[in-house]
Amino acid sequence: MENIKKSENIVFEKPRLINDTPMHYCPGCTHGVAHNLIASVIDEMGLAETTIGIAPVGCAVFAYKYVDIDWIEAAHGRAPAVATAVKRLSPDKMVFTYQGDGDLAAIGTAETIHACNRGENIAIIYINNAIYGMTGGQMSPTTIVDMKTATCPYGRNVALNGYPLKITDILVPLEGTCLVTRESAHTVAAIKRTKKMIRKAFENSLAGKGTSIVEIVSTCTAGWKMTADQANKWMVENLFPAYPPGTLKDI
């Protein structure tokens, strides 16, 4: 056993850009996987010194504590607006936002749609777990019909609360977007695919092709009141019919 533990035999290790600060996320949270993917893609592309991330408000508000690159913390929902300014002033930098559904699809809907419509050369990583995790599991715009949350304890009622907002689908016809894709991170295959798409989005930002959106359908163990494994299974059974993974636009 010990003779296998040599540096030349390492096939997987903590991404270099993930620092030693313990993440505050709940056990099994998809945010951790997404952070690892972003950190390893940035490192593989050699962009550690030329990337500027825009952190959101929500559970990932402390993203800047965990990934060792330059970050700016935006006001709630305004990450695409801040990213617009950063990218226009420093066009040679790779600029991305990291946002949840309560940030991107609720208070930040206008900023998201207009940044995409202007075709800003930024990448948007969108974590959609259909709930407000940080504030205690309230209904978000993307909560699916009949899903129970703290503010719709009998399930989301269409007559009262409307339909789930499929914002990624709304961004497809906008002429400014070049990559719109919906991914997940519940299996090794899905994680590898998501990594490929994040890389493509970052390449588009550098190439000036337009706005790239990578939605990651995610879990919320605390908000859904499940273990990490149960949450992954629940996500496949219930969230995937509403948010089917797949690439919607890639030009």
Binding site: V11, F12, K14, Y25, G28, C29, V33
Partner: protein, 71 residues
């Protein structure tokens, strides 16, 4: 003889069990001991079965697993 092995950062592990589910050869399980944060951390219960596939590493949200594979 094991083809691979893993090293788990037990202080960082939160015991979410995603690696246990992802392991194709059931090498990993949560142990009885707890770490400084009070989590039952993942540990190798069948170290001889490890094939070094790195599935556990990919799914670990806290990046606490280093995977070695005999070349």
């Amino acid at each position: 003889m094991a083809k691979g092995t893993v090293e788990i950062d037990t202080a960082r592990c939160k015991g979410c069990e995603l690696c246990v589910v992802a392991c194709p050869t059931d090498v990993l399980a949560l142990g009885k001991e707890v770490n400084g944060k009070g989590y039952h951390f993942a540990t190798m219960v069948k170290p001889d079965e490890c094939i070094g596939c790195a599935s556990c590493g990919y799914v670990c949200p806290d990046a606490c697993i280093t995977v070695y594979k005999q070349k």
